[in-house]
């Protein structure tokens, strides 16, 4: 078609002569087919593949950053927890130490008190014993001294002081005088 047009337009030339500026039908047809086919492959195959790959890469990078951030946050919270636990443990230890110190003081005080009570008791017991001993000694002395004095007086006067009532009153008076005497002495 175009060849024919060209031939008529430019006068008599050898058959099969072609124009460089006028397109020929097969050229246009195959050119269009080439374009359409490549466009379809790019639209249907290349673009989806590229988009998918780019998205996957984007996700991987983004995801990597997110994962790293998450791991960091986790590490931070774990660290916080550890520090919290450590602080609690320290407080606990301090409390226990304080408690122990207080207990120690208390136990010491109790022991001291017990010891003092014990000492007081032992002291009181000892005093009581001594008093009893003294009383006993006094009584036995009193008897012995009376007998001794009587026998001494008997031997001095030469007569037996048989009348017990009389002798007893004498002895008692004597002893009372003796005591009064010794007490006045002691009072001086």
């Amino acid at each position: 078609m175009h060849t024919a047009f060209f031939l008529t337009a430019s006068g008599p030339e050898a058959e099969g002569s072609h124009s460089i500026l006028l397109p020929e039908l097969p050229d246009l047809i195959w050119g269009s087919i080439a374009f359409v086919v490549v466009l379809i492959v790019i639209l249907r195959v290349v673009m989806p593949n590229i988009t998918r790959a780019l998205d996957a890469r984007h996700d991987a990078i983004e995801g990597g950053i997110k994962r790293a951030e998450k791991a960091q946050a986790e590490a931070a919270s774990t660290k916080d927890q550890f520090e919290e636990a450590l602080k609690e443990a320290r407080t606990e230890a301090a409390k226990i130490r304080e408690q122990a110190r207080a207990d120690g003081v208390r136990i010491l005080a109790e022991l001291k008190e017990q010891a003092q009570a014990e000492a007081a008791r032992i002291n009181a017991a000892a005093l009581a014993t001594i008093e009893v001993e003294r009383q006993n000694a006094l009584n036995s002395l009193r008897g012995e001294v009376g007998t001794l004095a009587l026998s001494l007086a008997s031997s001095v006067i030469g007569s037996s002081l048989k009348d017990d009532k009389v002798s007893a009153s004498i002895v008692d008076r004597f002893l009372a005088d003796l005591e009064a005497d010794s007490s006045t002495k002691a009072g001086k």
Binding site: I20, P23, L25, A34, V46, A53
Partner: protein, 254 residues
């Protein structure tokens, strides 16, 4: 016989006489498209989180078109919207251009103007569509033609110039820039290598002038390297101009 434009019009091989007629250049185009599709499919089939060497290269190429051309020009939102189209233009043009330097193929099917016209029409329709979709017909053309800050008296003249530059010159330059670069590159290579053959024949027949062939051979090799660069550059230019035209159509005011 010297290099001629008929290099781009070999005899048809398949479907002769139908609109689907295939000659060597069309077969090379289909081969390039098949190779491109295979690379795109295999290269993005199993993209890993941590890319290997092949994947890094593939991702570099795709990111170059997707981000470097589409998103950097159009912004995040519009860039993503038009990225498939711009990537298609870039990779298709690159694949078709690069056959110009592949041994055994050695011709770029973008040297045929039909392919460039198709791509230009798509770029044209896309930027007009994008502008009308955003602003409506009236405001789009007003934005494009009725420029603010221009004295009212000369606004109509400017409008005519804008019609010319935006709606007529743009698609034509897009088309011709691509096609002519590929045609010229092919001609240069053919010239260099035909000349090399010619001079080496002279050398065999005993003429010292044949030594010039060494120079033309070196030039040919240098131009092959240049053509690889041009193949990528033209694909980049076509794609980025498409992106810029869309961006201009979407801009509130010029």
């Amino acid at each position: 016989m010297g290099p001629s434009i008929n290099e781009f019009f070999p005899a048809p091989i398949l479907f002769i006489g139908t609109p689907f007629e295939l000659n060597r250049i069309m077969l090379i185009r289909l081969l390039a498209v098949a190779a491109l599709l295979l690379i795109l499919w295999l290269g993005t089939r199993r993209l890993k989180l941590v890319p290997g060497r092949g994947q890094v290269a593939m991702e570099f190429a795709i990111d170059f078109a997707r981000k470097g051309i589409a998103i950097d020009t159009l912004g995040e939102k519009e860039g993503k919207r038009f990225a498939p189209l711009i990537m298609t233009i870039f990779f298709l043009t690159l694949a078709l251009n690069v056959t110009g330097t592949i041994p055994g193929l050695q011709i770029a099917s973008t040297g045929l103007i039909g392919q460039a016209i198709i791509l230009s029409i798509i770029a044209y329709v896309t930027f007009v569509y994008a502008g009308i979709r955003k602003f409506g017909v009236g405001r789009f053309f007003k934005n494009a033609l009725w420029l603010p800050g221009v004295p009212v008296a000369i606004k109509p003249i400017i409008a005519v110039l804008e019609v010319l530059s935006t709606f007529i010159v743009r698609p034509i330059t897009l088309t011709l820039r691509l096609t002519m670069n590929m045609v010229a590159g092919h001609m240069l290579l053919v010239l260099c290598f035909l000349a090399t053959g010619f001079f080496f024949n002279m050398l065999i027949s005993g003429s010292a002038w044949g030594l010039i062939g060494a120079g033309t051979l070196l030039m040919g090799i240098a131009f092959v390297v240049l053509e690889i660069f041009v193949a990528a550059l033209q694909a980049y230019i076509f794609a980025i101009l498409t992106a810029i035209y869309i961006q201009l159509a979407l801009a509130d005011e010029h």
